[in-house]
């Protein structure tokens, strides 16, 4: 195996030379035509034409209880019902992404409407109706369904996405001595990933071999989770996720569907299909935890930040280690010698909380970037000037250098393009008819990570390349960028490179998550391609560095040799692997950006509309301008939702997730989204990966909502500290006079 460990900065590569001219180009998606013509099979669409059975989940409609008995007789008596699966192994929610464990119910109800059984029937409709005939007898247990009143019970988890506490110096002492003290508490509600494709699985047994098609992000972990959940060895399980209709973190761990389908298939002796309903997805997978965030900033009288604290309370279920890491970017984004970032997990008996797009930044920067705006105003300094005044030169927590940090360039470029100079200098001073208009901005940052990943490239005798890796494409463009990397490195036209993904029989990969996918899986393809080039050079008896590859030909000196000739009618297969190394420790790596928003707030109703949204970002090398930009559009739209609309409501009396469908859990619709602008600056980060690229998928959500909140303030003079900014929060403080005449 050819392995590259990222121990030092990468030098010039074939990607920089760009001989083939395909890297970075906004080429169409590799699988685009399949998707728009309905020919890309999603999880539920496998085994078309085979004799299968259909599953439907029986929910347990109580917040916390012990199951005394389950009477399945009526359901089983219904014609067409094949089995009702019950027992300890029923998964009550999605698995976490941190390990192979799965949450089995073991006779208990842990949260409202968790799965308690699975009906398997000849048809979907039969299974659905029979699910209502299963009778469950409960012994209710005491449950806690909100953080309120229980915050003092918060625990410091050592099983989360970052350390619970990050400290430096003595914040309390420094804050007490600060000339200026800022102290605000922000709240963000619970959110749901609400991916378009529901969690769905098809499971098929062949003897003791299990094959599962499921909608998953991290296949090499997920296959172990399925094996654990079903109680077989992972070597007996093959997992395939060739196409995925969105994950956003909610498919990092398997959903309950994968194990339920496999248990059902084993019981009835034929493949079982199980797609969670939208109501199931909302109530039985995972969610983002609500947060209560206290932000304290100490500064000098002239506006220099000297100390920074960001303390978050967020819930999770009993025994769960994950927490929403709201302070994740605070650790390095803001200056201050004395620092305190903490997270406490308050146990609640509500659906487990887990990773949702940009865990941490997506909620934390709603708070911190609003705080900076308010603090800048207190100093009478423009928010941009305030950020320039407080731009750290190195990682303020660890004292290591930033691998690259071009935040201020993003801000300046954004300000120029957006027309920041036209921002109303005083809040609530620009009115257009019935609308109050304001501008706001916020910084964006997203910590970068590189994960171990491997890929195989198979060069067929005729000089075509096929990339093979268990990597997933969750709609982000992974197929396309891996094709582009291989094509650029190997000097092949795009149509001579194929990509096979989403199958645990292929080389193990990082999977998709944390914005690491392109960098990690892409680097493994880079390493494999380098090995092929080396082999070509060896066969041609030249130094690889002198070899130019283009359009399927190797050019060495005055020779131009077609690959087919080098390959001598044989297939050449190599595997490449990337591993993170020293550069992850001795540099601080993150993507950066800046958001600019113009909003209009209706003076009569408090309805807020985003009129313009611009994001300028840097994330190292952009592998495909179109798919990268598209990722940013998605982040911006999420930002609109988080600022203005989204809120997963839990009824604190029962633990019911009240708005468990897309009619009442509001995500932005087209009419909420203005023309979006995204500008990605030319950038390289040689410490981040051999590709010199960094994660982008989550960058564009970080801070967007704060830019919108800051614009709402600029429009109305009203600061909102509890997201989302719905009309009821603005109405009491809007001007008395309504309508267009003012």
């Amino acid at each position: 195996m050819n392995k590259h460990v990222m121990n030092e900065a990468i030098g010039e590569t074939r990607l920089d030379r760009g001989t083939q001219g395909v890297i970075g180009q906004g080429v169409d998606r590799y699988e685009g035509k399949l998707k728009v013509s309905g020919k890309a099979p999603y999880a539920y669409e496998h085994l078309i034409g085979e004799k299968v059975a259909y599953g439907f989940v029986v929910p347990g409609p109580i917040g916390r209880a012990r199951v005394k008995s389950i009477d399945t007789a009526k359901a089983r008596a219904m014609p067409g019902v094949l089995a009702v699966v019950t027992g300890d192994a029923i998964m009550h929610s999605s698995a976490q992404p941190m390990g192979p464990d799965v949450p089995a119910m073991k006779g208990e109800i842990f949260h409202y409407n968790q799965p308690v059984a699975l009906v398997v029937a000849e048809t979907f409709e039969t299974a659905r109706h029979a699910s209502h005939l299963v009778e469950v007898d409960y012994e209710p247990l005491e449950g806690h369904y909100e953080m309120e009143g229980r915050r003092e019970t918060g625990r410091a988890s050592d099983g989360g996405p970052m350390a619970a506490d990050t400290k430096r110096g003595d914040f309390e002492k420094a804050f007490a001595a600060s000339e200026v003290q800022f102290d605000r508490t922000y709240t963000t509600p619970s959110y749901h990933a609400a991916a378009m494709e529901p969690h769905a699985s098809v499971a098929k047994w062949d003897g003791d071999q299990l094959t599962v098609w499921s909608s998953c992000q991290l296949l090499d972990l997920n296959v172990k989770q399925i094996a654990n959940g079903v109680g077989v060895d992972a070597s007996k399980v093959r997992l395939l996720s060739p196409y995925i209709g969105g994950g956003f973190g909610s498919k990092l761990g398997i959903g309950p569907d994968a194990v339920l389908a496999a248990l059902g298939a084993r019981e009835v002796g034929r493949p079982v299909k199980l797609a969670l309903t939208r109501q199931n997805v909302f109530q039985a997978t995972s969610r983002r935890g609500e947060t209560i965030q206290r932000v304290r900033i100490g500064a000098t009288k002239d506006g220099r930040i000297t100390c920074f604290a960001h303390e978050t309370d967020t819930p999770n279920a009993e025994g769960e280690g994950f927490f929403e890491p709201s302070g994740i970017s605070t650790v390095f984004l803001y200056p201050g010698d004395d620092r305190l970032v903490t997270h406490r997990v308050v146990t609640t008996d509500v659906l487990t909380t887990s990773a949702v797009r940009a865990p941490g930044e997506a909620t934390g920067m709603l708070a911190t970037e609003s705080a900076l705006d308010e603090l800048a105003e207190q100093f009478g300094i423009d928010p941009i000037a305030f950020r320039k005044l407080n731009e750290p030169e190195k990682d303020p927590q660890e004292d290591v250098p930033f691998s690259s940090r071009r935040l201020l360039e993003c801000i300046d470029e954004g300000a120029r393009r957006f027309g920041w100079a036209d921002r109303p200098s005083k809040p609530a001073t620009r009115r257009e008819g019935e609308w109050l208009v304001g501008y706001g901005m916020a910084s964006a940052s997203r910590a970068n990570s590189l994960m171990a990943s491997s890929a195989e490239i198979e060069m067929s005798a005729d000089g075509r390349a096929t990339v093979k890796t268990s990597m997933t494409d969750i709609g982000t463009g992974t197929y396309t960028i891996l094709q582009q990397i291989a094509a650029e490195m190997l000097g092949l036209p795009l149509d001579r490179v194929d990509v096979l993904l989403g199958d645990t029989s292929l080389p193990a990969s990082s999977g998709s998550g944390g914005s690491w996918g392109a960098n990690s899986a892409g680097s493994s393809v880079f390493v494999a391609a380098e090995a092929i080039v080396e082999e070509f050079a060896r066969r041609l008896d030249v130094d690889a560095s002198t070899l130019t590859l283009k359009d399927g030909h190797a050019i060495a000196g005055n020779r131009q040799i077609p690959f087919s000739e080098i390959l001598k009618r044989e297939t050449l297969t190599v595997t490449g692997k990337i591993e993170p190394g020293d550069t992850s420790d001795n540099t601080n790596q993150a993507s950066y950006g800046a958001h600019f928003a113009e909003v209009a707030v209706n003076v009569t109703t408090g309805e807020t509309r985003v009129r313009r949204l611009l994001t300028v970002g840097t994330a190292g090398r952009i592998l495909n301008m179109k798919t990268a930009t598209s990722q940013c559009y998605g982040g911006q739209i999420w930002g609109i939702g988080y600022a203005l609309e989204e809120e997963l409501v839990v009824d604190p009396r029962s633990g019911l997730i009240v708005n468990h469908d897309l009619a009442e859990y509001h995500v932005p619709v087209h009419a909420d989204v203005p023309k979006l602008d995204v500008v990605l600056l030319e950038d390289r980060d040689p410490y981040a990966s051999p590709l010199a690229g960094k994660g982008i998928g989550e960058l564009a959500i970080a801070g967007v909502g704060a830019a919108i909140n800051n614009a709402v303030y600029n429009a109305t003079g009203i600061r909102v500290y509890d997201y989302p900014i719905t009309m009821d929060k603005l109405l009491p403080r809007l001007p008395e006079e309504v309508g267009a005449a003012a």
């Binding site: 109703t605 309805e607 009824d651 009240v658 009821d728 267009a740």
Partner: protein, 323 residues
């Protein structure tokens, strides 16, 4: 979805005698059946009935067949020209796909969007009389502030019906025995009281055949819908208004409200208070005082009371400007 019988009605006369729930667009009923909130034993498909026409009536109004889709109704040139408030209300509702499928009769009969009504494990007097109300003391942001009872605080979700209420629409029906009747929309719906499961005055098997609009009302037509996102959300407050000015004073005002009550809300004392008045904010405030005198919030929805006032005032200001 509970297994059910399916039959197709061949003509209007037999539809009611087929003893089942009528289904046309099914945009609401099917969702509720999947959740087993609705469990009809039999569906009678009325989509083949000849009720898709929009015809002019002798008195200068329009008769809208019960099966006219929301999309077709909104786009009809006569509706757009003479009943603008109705066209605007229709286009403010649902989504393009739903409006293509949803019918005029079905829209009148859609059920509330109360989350507790949709969750069979929760108490709901509307779904299961006597079981209680989950929304009272629960999440009631979208719920009613007028005409509520201690049994139910649900709202009627239709936009179309609000505009039709302002237009004095009349519902034409045929009963099981073949007799027909015309019910003013103002008498069609019921407040929840002690029987929130009974939402209108239709009898078992009584089929809506048409909705009749009177001769067009002159004046400015407005439909303003306030909601939590720009589209595909139910009204928190909506105002349908037809306002006619004469000599700088309000000569006629027809005002109906959505999002506030168990039915499209109309209060003629509000309208009377405006007649003969100058279009001044103080006068609009007085109208709002009357409208909201009995309004009662449930906590989460308290904001609807000032929101209704502000929206009404803005609509009146807009409809009377330049007069």
């Amino acid at each position: 979805m509970r297994p059910f019988d399916y039959a197709r009605a061949g003509n209007v006369a037999e539809a009611g005698q087929m003893a089942g729930r009528f289904i046309a667009g099914g945009t609401n009923l099917l969702d509720l059946m999947k959740l087993e909130v609705e469990t009809p034993d039999k569906l009678v498909d009325i989509t083949r009935l000849p009720l898709r026409g929009i015809e002019e009536t002798d008195d200068g109004g329009l008769r809208i067949g019960a099966l006219v889709s929301n999309a077709d109704l909104a786009a009809d040139p006569r509706i757009r020209r003479d009943y603008e408030v109705l066209s605007r209300a229709l286009l403010a509702g649902a989504s393009g796909q739903l409006r293509n499928k949803a019918t005029t009769g079905g829209n009148l009969l859609q059920r509330t969007r109360c989350s507790y009504f949709y969750e069979p494990s929760q108490p709901c007097n509307k779904r299961e009389p006597g079981s209680g109300c989950g929304a009272i003391g629960g999440f009631n942001r979208i719920h009613a502030v007028l005409g509520t009872s201690d049994k139910c605080i649900a709202t009627h979700p239709s936009d179309m019906a609000v505009a039709m209420r302002a237009l004095d629409a009349v519902v034409e029906t045929q009963k099981v025995d073949g007799s027909t009747r015309a019910i003013a929309l103002g008498e069609f719906y019921r407040l929840p009281g002690d029987t929130p499961e009974i939402e209108n005055v239709l009898e078992q098997g009584e089929l809506i055949t048409a909705v009749r609009l009177p001769k067009p009302f002159a004046g400015q037509h407005r439909y303003r819908k306030v909601r939590d996102r720009a589209s595909y959300a139910f009204a928190l407050v909506s105002v349908a208004a037809v306002v006619r000015m004469d000599g700088g004073k309000i000569a006629e005002a027809r005002l109906a409200f959505g999002g506030l009550a168990h039915m499209p809300w109309r209060d003629e004392t509000v309208e009377k208070a405006l007649i003969g008045q100058e279009p001044a904010m103080a006068n609009f405030d007085k109208a709002a005082d009357i409208l909201l005198a009995e309004a009662k919030g449930q906590g989460e929805n308290d904001f609807k009371i000032p929101l209704a006032r502000r929206t009404l005032k803005a609509v009146l200001a807009d409809a009377t400007k330049g007069a």
